[in-house]
């Protein structure tokens, strides 16, 4: 492999992304071990990927992830659990909305109830505003080593959040940031040991105009 070919083919990026076949990897490895420019590039890229994995994993564990514009996840306080109890949901998955800047006051409860969201459309689709908070109680699954929460609007993913089992043991809060007005959905998925995902709940909601 010539250096020019490696550059033109984005070989370093393809290598880091695991896009190469075993044969392609072998050919590229024979090149970069002997090419100072590619060696430096592979070194930097591998460092970024490994450190990036650790950073992303740590963030997902500690809840520091800022997955959407001006949105923040954080583990809910005990008061939130109380809110769910008050909402009448002891099992499954519920979402409560709280107004922006009123972190301890439950304003209203949205009717996302266990079973409804899995098998069909809820009778009432909540209308949310940017800045509202979604509080999630994730039904534990023995198959899941962790969970993922996807927010999508108009069929386009806006945000994906990694939630550890430890985090999911308590209620988790998502503060909505910039989302396009219109129909959206929040999908909670379990992630199996092999990385495969399975859906737990699908909850539609609407983002209202400001």
């Amino acid at each position: 492999m010539r250096h020019e070919d490696a550059v033109q083919d984005h070989a370093v990026e393809r290598y880091l992304l695991g896009e190469m076949t075993e044969d392609q990897r072998t050919i590229f490895e024979e090149h970069y071990f002997d090419c100072h420019a590619c060696a430096a590039d592979v070194t930097d890229g591998t460092r970024m990927m490994m450190a990036g994995r650790r950073v992303a994993t740590e963030d997902s564990r500690t809840g520091n992830v800022v997955p959407m514009r001006k949105r923040f996840w954080f583990a809910a306080a005990a008061a939130a659990s109380l809110a769910f109890t008050l909402a009448g949901g002891s099992a499954g998955y519920l979402v409560a909305i709280r107004q922006q800047h009123v972190p301890t006051e439950l304003v209203r409860v949205v009717g996302f109830e266990t079973g409804v969201s899995r098998s069909g459309t809820p009778t009432t689709i909540p209308v949310l505003q940017p800045g509202d908070e979604l509080r999630l109680d994730i039904e534990p699954s023995d198959d899941a080593v962790r969970y993922a929460a996807d927010v999508s609007c108009g069929g386009k993913t806006q945000s994906t959040i990694d939630i550890s089992r430890e985090m999911a043991a308590d209620a988790v809060t998502l503060r909505l940031g910039e989302l396009p007005a219109g129909p959206c959905e929040l999908v909670i998925q379990g992630v199996r040991k092999d990385g495969k995902r399975f859906r737990i709940t699908v909850n539609p909601f609407t983002v209202g105009e400001r």
Partner: protein, 181 residues
């Protein structure tokens, strides 16, 4: 790093336990071995294999006839050690100088230290949009197929490579700044 070239003189210096050449050898090949092993072995095994490869190369330099073929010699040795790793073959005992030299480079310090983590965060914050940063986080987590990431974020594989390329440039610049005296 670049002022060294792999030739007969370089190999002779290695054989003579020249410290500067030895340190260059470890600093140059360690990251390349980690890159090769990443994705093929569990992280906890990578460091063992890295050390084992460098130990063996340094002990078997007499088998290398042309100094310019040192990189391929390291690569070939790595392939052999990986095969043995799969079979869990034990390696021979080692002299102290080898342990000191090869143990001087540390995957935890060089690849996973606070400077690298800070550079990752810096690069993420410098991406054009939060969405780009989010895609990168998904790539870093490496929990799902790249195709799935592309589908979920509605980006092509080409765009994903370009995104990674830009992130790498930002990361490298930030990492260099972190390590400036």
């Amino acid at each position: 790093m670049d002022r060294f070239s792999f030739d007969d003189l370089y190999v002779r210096r290695l054989k003579e336990h020249d410290r500067e050449t030895g340190e260059h050898f470890v600093r140059y090949f360690s990251p390349l071995l980690v890159a090769k092993l990443r994705g093929r072995l569990p992280v906890q095994d990578i460091e063992d294999v890295r050390q084992d490869v460098l130990f063996r190369v340094l002990k078997r330099l007499d088998n290398l006839r042309e100094g310019c073929k040192l990189p391929q010699f390291v690569l070939g040795t790595c392939n052999n050690v990986m095969l043995e790793q799969y079979r869990k073959v034990r390696t021979e005992p080692l002299e102290e100088w080898l342990l000191l030299l090869v143990g001087d480079w540390d995957i935890e310090k060089d690849f996973l230290g606070k400077e690298a983590a800070a550079a990752v965060r810096q690069a993420l914050s410098e991406m054009r949009t939060p969405r780009e940063a989010e895609i990168l986080r998904a790539i870093y987590l490496d929990d799902e197929d790249r195709e799935e990431v592309c589908r979920r974020y509605d980006v092509s594989p080409d765009n994903l490579r370009v995104l990674l390329h830009r992130a790498k440039k930002k990361f490298t610049a930030a990492f260099r700044r972190q390590n400036e005296p």
